[in-house]
């Protein structure tokens, strides 16, 4: 019998600012099954529910947590921005 997800994909994950310090993660690669969302990436990374003000980007564009991810994507998590 074939496994339900015979292939895995790799996503490159980055964390910034206070989140980087809290998780102790700057950049990491995560392997996961193919039908993955940003929320799944967060869960695999942190093993905790996302903070209410958490923001995320997929390939340098803001996305929602239910956005699908693809093999090789760069997924970033970060707190509210404070530039300018």
């Amino acid at each position: 019998m074939q496994p339900a997800y015979p292939f895995t994909m790799t996503v490159h994950v980055k964390c910034f600012a206070s989140l980087r310090q809290q998780l102790g993660v700057d950049a990491i690669d995560i392997e996961h099954r193919f039908d993955m969302t940003v929320a799944d990436v967060w869960q695999a990374l942190s093993r905790q529910p996302p903070p209410g003000n958490l923001l995320c980007a997929r390939n340098f564009e803001y996305v929602d947590f239910n956005q699908s991810v693809a093999d090789g994507d760069e997924i970033a998590f970060f707190p509210p921005v404070t530039g300018g």
């Binding site: 910034f16 980007a57 970033a76 707190p79 509210p80 404070t82 530039g83």
Partner: protein, 144 residues
């Protein structure tokens, strides 16, 4: 149009003057509006000694370029300049410079402010302040 992230301190008024001299046609623009945000030595009730400005290399540059291009097109600007500092800042250091040039004043004014608001809302920068006793991440921006 020029958009740059600067790891070193810059002299904002000289930057505007130099850019205008080199890139704007003499007699073509009737209006220029400039905003400069600088580091204060006091924030939310406490003295601030230093500030570290972090960004998301790759994403931030794209955002700044996109939001400046959008403003240039929306307001028919003749030109625009955006500089944003990263790294370790001291009080009085310029953080951000936005300059816009247009034929008439309404466009330059409106575009300059819109670029700043878009940058404050969307651009991936984060500030960490060094206080007299410890550090803190700034948790949000002052409303525009």
């Amino acid at each position: 149009m020029r958009v740059e992230i600067r790891p070193q301190p810059f002299a904002p008024w000289q930057e505007v003057g130099d850019y205008q001299e080199r890139h704007l046609a003499r007699g073509a623009f009737g209006a220029s509006a400039v905003f400069v945000g600088s580091m204060r030595d006091f924030n939310r009730g406490e003295p601030v000694r230093n500030m570290a400005l972090e960004h998301y290399a790759g994403m931030t540059e794209r955002q700044l370029t996109q939001l400046t291009e959008e403003a240039v097109q929306r307001h028919d600007l003749l030109d625009a300049l955006l500089l944003h500092r990263i790294g370790n800042l001291r009080p009085n250091d310029p953080i951000v410079l936005v300059a816009t040039w247009s034929a008439h004043r309404a466009e330059a004014f409106t575009a300059c402010r819109e670029i700043m608001e878009a940058l404050k809302t969307r651009a991936t920068f984060w500030k960490k302040e060094t206080l007299t006793d410890g550090e803190r991440w700034v948790d949000g921006n002052t409303p525009g």
